[in-house]
Symmetry: C2
Subunit: 247 residues, 2 copies
């Protein structure tokens, strides 16, 4: 499993992904699920992936290959004129990769599916955020649905639903995401630290800040330990239930 979130903020885009992949319970590895393409001053494109690792790596490799062989009739992700075109290209690539492996007649115990979050900005357009399905179609974030989650989304969703604020600073957004990730990690063994983040400032057209937060990162420990206490305080601040007298 996996847990990734992409959020559309007033100040830009914020991404976070875990790094655990597993084939069964006893074959666990660490892989980055964040891929960033950048052409300074022209475009920054970030892709987060959940699902079959062979599929998501094939999608990224396929896109990278095209970038290296520009003469090819396939356009590169560094050439497409808009984020919508980028989403279409990646969605088509994803669908093709899945179809290719499904056609071999091989049967795996897990399906070859993958789901992607794509966000970024290309000069001339605004920052945009997409959720791409394994069928090759996709939806775009907007004011009503300003963030996307993929993978093991349920444990970490309530805090996002309640506390997401598009006007937050990146520093506040990362804090919110760490709480959401920590809730997930505490409940599901197939999601695990370290967490990769990417903070893209709107209209900067440069990569911005990226980094990895390890399990023993002092700030993560502060959030993880502090959140239990803060939650208990929050609960304490609400009035207790007074059961009505029984008939």
């Amino acid at each position: 499993m996996t847990y990734c979130v992409g959020m559309m903020m007033d100040r830009g885009l914020v991404f976070m992904s875990d790094t655990r992949t597993n084939a069964g319970m006893d074959n666990i590895s660490t892989f980055s699920k964040t891929k960033i393409w950048e052409t300074k001053g022209d475009r920054v494109i970030t892709l987060l992936s959940a699902g079959n690792l062979a599929t998501t790596q094939a999608v990224v490799s396929e896109l990278d290959e095209r970038e290296k062989a520009r003469e090819d009739r396939n356009p590169s992700i560094l050439d497409v004129p808009s984020m919508y075109q980028a989403a279409r290209m990646i969605a088509d690539t994803l669908r093709d990769v899945i179809a290719r492996h499904s056609d071999t007649g091989q049967r795996a115990s897990s399906v070859f599916n993958a789901t992607l979050i794509l966000g970024g900005q290309i000069a001339g357009g605004p920052p945009r955020l997409f959720l791409i399905y394994p069928e090759g179609n996709f939806i775009e974030a907007g004011p009503d649905t300003p963030f996307f989650q993929i993978g093991e989304i349920k444990y970490g969703r309530p805090i996002l639903v309640r506390a997401y604020d598009p006007a937050s600073s990146f520093a506040e957004a990362v804090k919110l995401l760490l709480v959401s990730f920590d809730s997930t990690v505490k409940a599901n063994l197939t999601v695990g630290a370290p967490f990769d983040y990417h903070l893209y400032e709107a209209d900067s057209l440069v990569r911005g800040k990226t980094g990895r937060i390890e399990l023993d990162d002092p700030y993560y420990r502060t959030i993880s330990d502090g959140w239990s206490e803060a939650l208990k305080q929050a609960l304490h601040s609400l009035p207790a239930f007074d059961a009505p007298a029984q008939p």
Copy 2:
């Protein structure tokens, strides 16, 4: 779907269940998922059920039938000498009901499975809490796993994991459960108010307090509205993320 929780507390047992059942998205009804058997001074047994409604109703009806026809060679749930025997009887009944419907050759779009939470006390023994699987086996709560959830458990789990305290009063426990239920309701359409609760005081051997909390219950509104604010405050109380300088 469904959401039910049974919690083992120092002061006794606390149960809560939602009441929504649905067959598809457009066939929604309200059914109580809590069943209580009581013989004052001798036993109080509470059963919460998640899964196929026909299955869970058949289990309860079967147990009620036996209670009415005591001459039958099958013992009644009002006769069994211990909570362990009660758990075995209910688990066997559940497995039999599922097997009976699976044997007809009929195929339904959803399976006939159900999962149950059983809790209560029979004179001579302590209060006990069990989780019963559709296969007819079960596990018991203890200090390490003092509560069970069934149905749509993920959204409401993080708050339980963080804030459950066996020493809480019933009033605090119901507040905690309402927060957990509210987080679930906000994320999943197949879980819905009203919520049924049962507060069983250890060693009382009488039913205790039961009731139903409606969507427009003023206390529930206070919790639901207040929790968003309290969560934001809790988040605010933690330090913001300070991204390291980029290389």
